[in-house]
Amino acid sequence: MKPCAFIYHRPSGLPEALALLAAHAPTGGRVLAGGQSLVPMMAYRMAQPSHLIDINHIATLQGAAMQNGALVIGTTTRHAAFKTGICPGPLGAMLGFVSSHIAHGPIRNRGTFGGSLANADPASEWCLVMVTLGGRVMLQHASGTRMVAAGDFFTGVMATALADDEMLTEAHLPWGQGDQWGFYEISRRAGDYALAMCLVVYRLDNGLMRDVRLGIGGAEATPRRLAAAEAILAGQAPTGPNFIQAADAAAAMLKPMTDHNVTALFRRDLVRAAVRRALHHSLNHE
């Protein structure tokens, strides 16, 4: 349970960090963010990086601000920073509520938003938020920058579009005006990884749901929006019977994973429950 040897770098600026990554990525160099997933993997020797580039001391990569209707989140913004509302309004409240489901306090004090995205665990709450809201990530390497849509970024279980010498530097989360939101996660104990979870966001227009976004995480290899369930809700009133129809549709179209926790069959039921409860949660945040 001891990590293998590596060379440690602590750059204080982004260009320096990108240059280090470019130099060492070809021989197993990696970014160290909060370390809350990487260090356990190193303890198990599942990860054996030759160099670690610690990005915790790059001030420009921390913090979040609204820019043109999107919340721009620096990659090393810690989970704990979302607790009391990282921005005003429903987006800040939603992110605060979702963040309380990630692991436990001491892990949230270190783990980072961007680290969660780069790690791409199927049960990551932040990955679900990015996909459901249609977020984008900024990926930088020593000689360039590209923006990638969240839907294209996650390519499989713990797999992303990141090249070895690329660093995720920002996440952009768009948010419309006056949005309603609901979130529900099913896990075995407080702080455990989700077995199934659902985030739903919509706008109420004369009592009818519009611009419905409904995303599922923890059930398949990557989080995704379920268009069929969204279509059932669009233009309808937010009522129990409509919620049940949407939940049934979501459960029917999913291809859930079987893992050491639960079977696919059971997971389908969990998804149905998570969708229904997330929709009810959107009406009552108490």
Binding site: G35, V39, H104, P106, I107, N109, R110, G191
Partner: protein, 152 residues
């Protein structure tokens, strides 16, 4: 490198792969911080770094250079800390293996938020594992110490 622990500087020579938990125990001789799982699950290694509770097994010692670290050895100053007294009074430990982690977890939470409710205390304490007590007496001890610290 230097580690600043409980108000004192420790000059130590460690490999980059040495975790903060191992450095505290093996290089600083501070064996109060316990190591259970070494992958972030149990919380036995919890210490306070720059005011926040963290898992010392998931931070490399080199990363903690320049930070203010507090371990269980720093709690008692001229007599047991209130929270330690309440752990004794409420029988909040049996084998004691998890106790340093629970103490640091609870102290950090209460310093950050003096008015913790019992529900919040339960949520905070869910971070750590105890194999002996069944948790009830730990919760009682932390609630009682929170009440006492509010009153004084």
């Amino acid at each position: 490198m230097k580690l600043h622990v409980n108000g004192r500087d420790y000059d130590i020579a460690v490999e980059a792969r040495r975790t903060l938990a191992d450095a505290l125990r093996k290089d600083c001789g501070l064996t109060g911080t316990h190591i259970g799982c070494e992958h972030g699950v149990c919380g036995a290694c919890t210490v306070i770094m720059d005011g926040a509770a963290v898992r010392a097994c998931l931070i490399f010692a080199v990363q903690a250079e320049g930070a203010v670290i507090r371990t269980v050895e720093g709690l008692a100053a001229g007599g047991l800390h209130v929270i330690q007294q309440e752990f004794v009074a409420h029988h909040g430990l049996q084998c004691g293996f998890c106790t340093p982690g629970f103490l640091m977890l609870a102290v950090a939470a209460r310093e950050a938020e003096p008015d913790l409710t019992d529900a919040e205390i339960l949520d905070v304490l869910s971070a750590n594992l105890c194999r002996c007590t069944g948790y009830q007496n730990i919760v009682k001890a932390v609630s009682a110490s929170a009440r006492r610290m509010r009153e004084t």
